[in-house]
Subunit: 241 residues, 2 copies
DNA sequence: CAGTGGTCTAGACCACGTG
DNA sequence: ACGTGGTCTAGACCACTGC
């Protein structure tokens, strides 16, 4: 049954979707937590199971929620494996490269012009900066600079040793759920300091990957620039559909 | 009602999906053609509209078919705009770069070892090779080698001038529908002949993009290697979800 | 076993594009 | 006005998981 004075004529299932997002965003439903069954959702919102299901399906498509048959539907939780699968696009032959990383402690600073633009911040905002080298079999191959809006990541500066995959930390320690990212890729030559950090010759061609990661509502929450020295048959893999 | 002796217990909607794919693959429904309405499909296969709809939804997700509200559902047709949107990932600032191309006529040849591996061909198979330079404002910026299994592209060698976007031609002239692709990306230095073709200095860093495009059933139908000279704020854009 | 998501039905009405 | 896809209902049974 559709109510007579329908709010802006938005489909019911999208309205339900929005309410569900709100509960997740508010933290009422924590990462990894079981959310109500489709039938319960239907009852709570006064819609049929089919409509509740459409709402949940939308969330699944956005990676906000995960369905497990026979178990239930859970708030998406970043795991190491998951983050590798979704966000680590550098491969060695057919194998995904998983790296270790050696990072400096996050450093607070006033956001630069570029940081303000990429992270959608106003003048005067502060950021946390992380620098690190990612290694594979003790061989450094990615030099990385990461910037985060300080306001969204309270307490992160206290972390001394950060893991290689960060989005689990963002989610658990700071309640920031990364749901998508864009990467802009170019080819550059290693300058002297980069070459030194990666233990290669200056002038070696590198892949420069600039990523902006976004949370719910498309809010940019991380800007990172990675300089990658790809050996032999290593490459960045993109899927086009 | 589900029949008692259900074929391999595959969901009905997937069985319907398969039948629809078969009709498209056979050419019974041509590119751009209107396919039967969901209600007609439901009647033809003896299922409800909901089930027919699930089958069509699966095809939409695979880019095999396109829904247009109020009009109907159509077999996917590669247009220039569409191919740009889906497959041209090189941008200049926020704008997608659309190029012109100057191509040599396709040349038949015996498939090399690499071509056999990438295109999944047996020894002795032949390929068509296309070489071209893609230009923007009369400035060459991509040098490209393309290999196609000759068996799938009869008559293509007769084409003298090929457009920059090829998948429309593949589809209309050769009934090959590209539905997905993978790109492996690395950074390389321009060698002498590449530098000459792109009118740049040898040793300039280039983006090397190696693409395998696939048709229905995951069959590889095109292998291409692009060497891209990206100026100023040009870049390759990847979306991660 | 009970409860979940996954599939499926047989309807209904709405929103949209074309004639 | 008509036919399309888009939304929605109120059921049903199946397949899977954990207890």
């Amino acid at each position: 049954m559709t109510s007579p004075n329908d709010a802006a004529r938005r489909p019911r299932y999208l309205q339900v979707r929005e309410q569900l997002v709100a509960r997740i965003q508010s933290g009422a439903w924590a990462p990894g937590q079981l959310i109500p069954s489709e039938i319960d959702i239907a009852k709570q919102f006064g819609v049929s199971q089919g409509t509740a299901r459409m709402a949940v399906t939308a969330l699944v498509a956005e990676n906000i929620v995960t369905r497990r048959q026979g178990l239930g539907t859970f708030v998406y939780e970043h795991t190491r494996e998951d983050e590798l699968e979704r966000f680590a696009r550098v491969f060695n032959g057919r194998e995904r490269i998983d790296a270790d990383s050696r990072s400096w402690q996050p450093v607070p600073a006033k956001a630069s012009r570029v940081e303000r633009r990429e992270l959608d911040l106003v003048a005067g905002c502060k950021v946390l900066r992380i620098r690190r080298v990612r290694v594979r079999d003790d061989i450094p191959f990615i030099l990385e600079r990461i910037s985060l809006p300080e306001a969204l990541f309270p307490g992160l500066a206290a972390h001394h040793e950060l893991p290689d995959m960060l989005y689990g930390i963002y989610q658990r320690a700071c309640a920031v759920m990364v749901v998508e990212a864009e990467e802009r890729i170019t080819a550059v030559l290693a300058d002297r300091s980069t070459a030194k950090a990666l233990r290669i010759a200056a002038g070696t061609p590198l892949l420069r990957i600039e990523r902006v990661a976004r949370a719910l509502q498309g809010k940019p929450v991380e800007w990172r620039v990675s300089l990658c020295h790809l050996s032999a048959d290593a490459h960045y893999l993109a899927r086009l559909k």
